[in-house]
Amino acid sequence: MVRLFALSVFFKGASEARLLKTTSDLQSFSFFQRGTVNEFMTFASKTIVERTQPALRQSVKQDAYMCHVYVRADNLAGVLIADHEYPHRVAHTLITKILDDFAAKVSAEQWPNGTEATIAFDSLPAFLAKYQDPKEADPITKMQTDLDETKIILKNTIESVLERGEKLEDMVTKSEQLSMQSKAFYKTAKKTNSCCSFA
């Protein structure tokens, strides 16, 4: 399957990453999983942004998903969650493009204190829908010829992005973004190793 699940824009502040805008397409998940999956996608996106240096690109593999992240030198960051088959190069091209669009529409003063409610930038859903087919990105790929694929750092799990001494399970337990229900979901999914496990 070639599929995009979620797209979000963050500002990477000194202590934590701030979510500015996000959208997701979770039709392929069963109905009662969607809320939880959404929470986990945002949680994972934030976690990875916080652990990515500015001016760096990473693609982090986790279960059946691939989190592509790019933090610009000015600390504006984009995360695209896709499945394994979505071409990495296209994913990073798209992040670059969406961050350019974002920066052009929303002035940099708003980034450090912005929230989803205050930021006026509504093109993420249309963007996510359009580029479900990576072919649609052909024209952009041709324009951005400077993206060097060899500079994208590939990581095999979220754990390998974490700092020394950090553990994903502890982070899930401590997290304030995740609801009780999602934490229960995570525990059960981990135990049964079912396909709905996200983080």
Partner: protein
């Protein structure tokens, strides 16, 4: 004392399970359009009903699933034993079978693999205690939690055997297959079921050709879908299918493919089939072959040629993958095989994509002179440049090697 408490506890559990099963049954009665069922991971009883019903989706919290299943299972098995031991009076049987349905629903949703339970359902359908339409809905619901359930697909086929083919909503059946195949890759049961639908409803050929192309574009490494498309194309050819439409540029993909093999059929791409046929089937004895057969030949080869181009495009976008390579081969094989069959007069043979020619056919093929055929010579020359492995495949499956090795 302990025993008494145990009995109490068991009774309490039984009452609770009965209540949950009743709740689920109430949802079934209330909502005729349930579209999905799932088990929601939740480890503790929070003192509210574990049956969740939102927007035609039904959920059951995981903490009670095992107990509820055990209870339903026990009830069903003991009932079965009873009916087998003593022939109950018909009236009694009927009353019981109505009560059975709710246990069957719950048990099969939680564990769709128990053939016995599906069998009890069949018996109830035969006694007119369950309606066929409701049963179709129920099996679709089971497929929402287990898209690979062969039992559910088999049950649907069995239910349809009571209906006349023109009363069946085949497009709906296709969409059920597609949803199941989308949820689970390599879903053998869904694709087999779809083949069964295709056998029964040949009117779907064109829409299927379009749908499957869309599907393989999205599910790039699910070879089951490519395989179904190969079967589909074979079926289309078998049924002499073609599009009567003259307006669009005719056989564009096929012309493009021939150009890639450096063959010139370029007399301006008009609607005339002659130059194409001359190239693919030179010196064909037309007297034995109908015009429809030739039109279908061109149409199907054009589909195969466009698939070969699709595989090349996908490869450029996603990198090399087995599926692209294998499907390209299957499509090429289709074209070569149909050419050879028509030229040797084997057109009426059974299914396509046959194993390397066998028995009587191989004699015919042995006599067939590949070298006198410019299209096949060109295919051989260019395909042989694609590496040793591919060359061996060509020799074996396209019969290109038989004269080199003195027959294989």
């Amino acid at each position: 004392m302990d025993d008494v408490m145990n009995v109490d506890f068991n009774n309490e559990k039984k009452v609770l399970c009965e209540k949950i099963i009743r709740d689920i049954n109430a949802v079934f009665l209330k909502d005729a359009d349930l579209s999905s069922f799932e088990i929601i991971p939740k480890e503790t009883n929070c003192n509210k009903s574990p049956v969740v019903h939102v927007d035609h989706n039904l959920g059951l919290e995981s903490w009670c699933a095992q107990h509820v299943y055990d209870h339903a299972h026990r009830t069903l098995i003991s009932h079965r034993r009873q009916t087998m031991q003593q022939q109950l009076r018909t009236l009694q049987q009927q009353q019981q079978s109505d009560a059975l349905a709710k246990y069957l629903n719950v048990a099969l949703l939680i564990n769709p693999d128990v053939t016995t339970f599906w069998h009890i359902r069949r018996q109830l359908v035969q006694k007119n205690r369950l309606s066929i339409n409701k049963e179709l809905q129920f099996s679709a619901l089971v497929l929402s939690i287990k898209p690979k359930s062969n039992e559910a697909f088999a049950y649907r086929r069995w239910l349809y055997s009571f209906q006349s083919a023109d009363a069946i909503d085949w497009p709906h059946e296709i969409s059920i297959c597609e949803r199941a195949a989308d949820r689970c890759s390599s879903n053998y049961h869904a694709w087999s079921h779809r083949q069964w639908v295709l056998q029964n409803a040949p009117c779907l050929l064109l829409s299927e050709l379009m749908r499957t192309e869309k599907f393989i574009r999205k599910h790039i490494s699910d070879y089951s879908s490519y395989h179904y498309r190969q079967v589909l194309l074979g079926r289309a050819y078998e049924l002499c299918f073609y599009m009567p439409d003259e307006s669009q540029p005719q056989w564009a993909s096929l012309r493009e493919l021939l150009a890639q093999y450096q063959l010139n059929c370029s007399e301006p791409a008009g609607p005339d089939a002659e130059p194409l046929l001359q190239l693919l089937l030179p010196n064909l004895n037309r007297s034995s072959i109908s015009a429809q057969r030739l039109r279908s030949f061109l149409y199907c080869c054009n589909v195969a040629a466009s698939d070969m181009r699709l595989c090349a495009e996908q490869r450029a976008l996603y990198g090399a993958r087995d599926c692209f390579e294998l499907h390209r081969r299957a499509s090429l094989k289709f074209i070569v095989e149909q050419c050879v069959r028509l030229l040797t007069g084997l057109a009426s043979g059974p299914g396509l994509y046959l194993a390397p020619a066998s028995g009587t056919q191989s004699n015919e093929l042995r006599k067939f002179d590949y070298d006198s055929h410019p299209f096949l010579v060109a295919v051989r020359r260019l395909e042989f440049q694609l590496g040793d492995k591919h060359r061996r495949w060509c020799n074996m499956h396209l019969n290109f090697g038989h004269h080199e090795q003195g027959g294989n």
